[in-house]
Symmetry: C2
Subunit: 335 residues, 2 copies
Amino acid sequence: MSTPGPRRTTIKDVAELAGVGVATVSRVLSGGSASAETRERVLDAATKLDYRPSALGRNLRQQRSGGVALLVPDITDGFYARLCDGVLSCARSYREPVTIGVTGDDAEQEADLVGGLLEQSMDRIIAVPSGDGEMWASAVRAGLNVVFADRRVWSPGQHARALDEVPAVLTDDRSGLRTAIEYLTGLGHRKIGFLARQGMSHRVAAFREAMGDLLDEDLVVFARASRDSAYAAAAGLFQRRADLTAVIAGGNMLGEAAVLAARELYVRIPRDLSLIMFDDVPWAELCSPPLTVIAQPASDVGYRAAELVLRHGRRPRTVSLPTELIVRSSCAPRR
Amino acid sequence: MSTPGPRRTTIKDVAELAGVGVATVSRVLSGGSASAETRERVLDAATKLDYRPSALGRNLRQQRSGGVALLVPDITDGFYARLCDGVLSCARSYREPVTIGVTGDDAEQEADLVGGLLEQSMDRIIAVPSGDGEMWASAVRAGLNVVFADRRVWSPGQHARALDEVPAVLTDDRSGLRTAIEYLTGLGHRKIGFLARQGMSHRVAAFREAMGDLLDEDLVVFARASRDSAYAAAAGLFQRRADLTAVIAGGNMLGEAAVLAARELYVRIPRDLSLIMFDDVPWAELCSPPLTVIAQPASDVGYRAAELVLRHGRRPRTVSLPTELIVRSSCAPRR
DNA sequence: AGTGCTCATGGAAACGATTCCATCATCATT
DNA sequence: AATGATGATGGAATCGTTTCCATGAGCACT
């Protein structure tokens, strides 16, 4: 059935050809000390045999499989796609493979995925967490090396501080939202809505805070992770509250849904409704009208997170990356 | 430094608690034959100890690491993101981890990545191939279990047929292009351009074939994998050939670039130029004007490819998934 | 009763690397 | 010249699983 082909060349073969012991070969190849002459003989033999150390053997011995895992809610979302890209590009320079899983913003799937990783003895993981702190706390206790990206999660109990030590790479949503809201209120808007997705509680909290007295709790709505749900949430909000004059979409899928729903309901942007969207995606400029957005350095978030988990040096608690309001044509003064 | 914590429970512990040999435990757990009583005792012990077999040990023994690798040109491209999603969702049901790499449509990076996978003893890979047949042929000879997705590559020599056996999941570009071109010629267009990206030679070939006598080789242009390059290619074509009245973009990034370039150059779509884009992305509808597209079932491509590589049953050579022309507002009769 | 067959079973040998530890040579110091 | 320190070296153990093989029990048939 399978190819009976020539056995893979092992460290033993190299040792034999070089006339040394396997231990010496291992040492030379992983930068240990050896005499110049031996080193040369080993290296020679290795190249002659085109020897590639088997990750399998190494992994078993070291009780950990190499590589990094990456958990995102939805790889189809441009933001997370860029985040992945950032991780991938950093990991590449370390020659570490990246295993990706999508959680769909669902705690159960997330727990499943993490369980699978544990089974693989993966011990490094970058996650956009969806689940409860409980699960992550136990994962950390199990020795998993976690870095949070885009959002984080806190220790459930007031005693357990495990999660509070987990490094995280976030975007500065708070300040992004603040400038966005300043911009909108400057245009005269008072009734400002927020379209959120499950798992965006940090962003919602920032919105609430930035809105201050203006906050109308009825104007923040939640959608689940799907496009349909986003559309339903947007359409529902627009129909329910005719007095709404501006809305902030918590992500590009929400923004897309908002544009679509507005079009469907004959709500004109920006004449009837001003729209600001989180995340600057290429189509925001192509859209009609071009969308004013809060740009986030998605790729950098991924890259930095990967650095944190891979370099593993002395690491800062949390790094926060700047956001930027890019004004295009989807906002107008309140009429 | 590392936790001195309680040793991971191994198969040996289970055997001990159940009062049987390790071999028996292994058999029971992997569905071998055993007496009812033994089976129960083993299962009991396993649950009591919360035993999870270590993938590391298994992998070493079986000389192959589990999981699937997936190579795409650019995960930031909506089409490939959806393809990934399809693969991920299929792999999930098999509980197989997926390792993703991006090639950037570059043969060298691709070869690097494949080398890395070999080192990891990954033996199953789904790839959108960029490189030459040589590399893939040698990978197949090395025992790699390859399935091509979205496009394929043929054996370099006329003797070596290794690659021709590799299964592939493709979209029916040929028929998609044919209907698109029929549509355009029906609107009176004769000078039809094609915006391609490196690695899209199959699509270009299909375009050439479908164009027949109408083909003007000067109207097909190539871009590299970046957004800038796509923009440059589109702008170059539009400026160089004022007689162009219609253009087909070979992918959504090319389409985006075409819209942008047209806008920049005051070329009005569809009045001055009709545009059809490969791949129906959400923003195509949001764009102004909404874009006529050749829709491709990206997610299905991924899913089917994953099925092929994971089920590994008797497998068909190649499966071709239908495309669909979705007419929106980016094409108009030639004036 | 003896022979042959089918099972369940457990010991032990892989798999390929790293790493502990003992050995030995070399060299400097007393 | 004897001792100690240093450094290079290789044998062997180890990681956790699967799988080969031998053993022995149970049973049916001659």
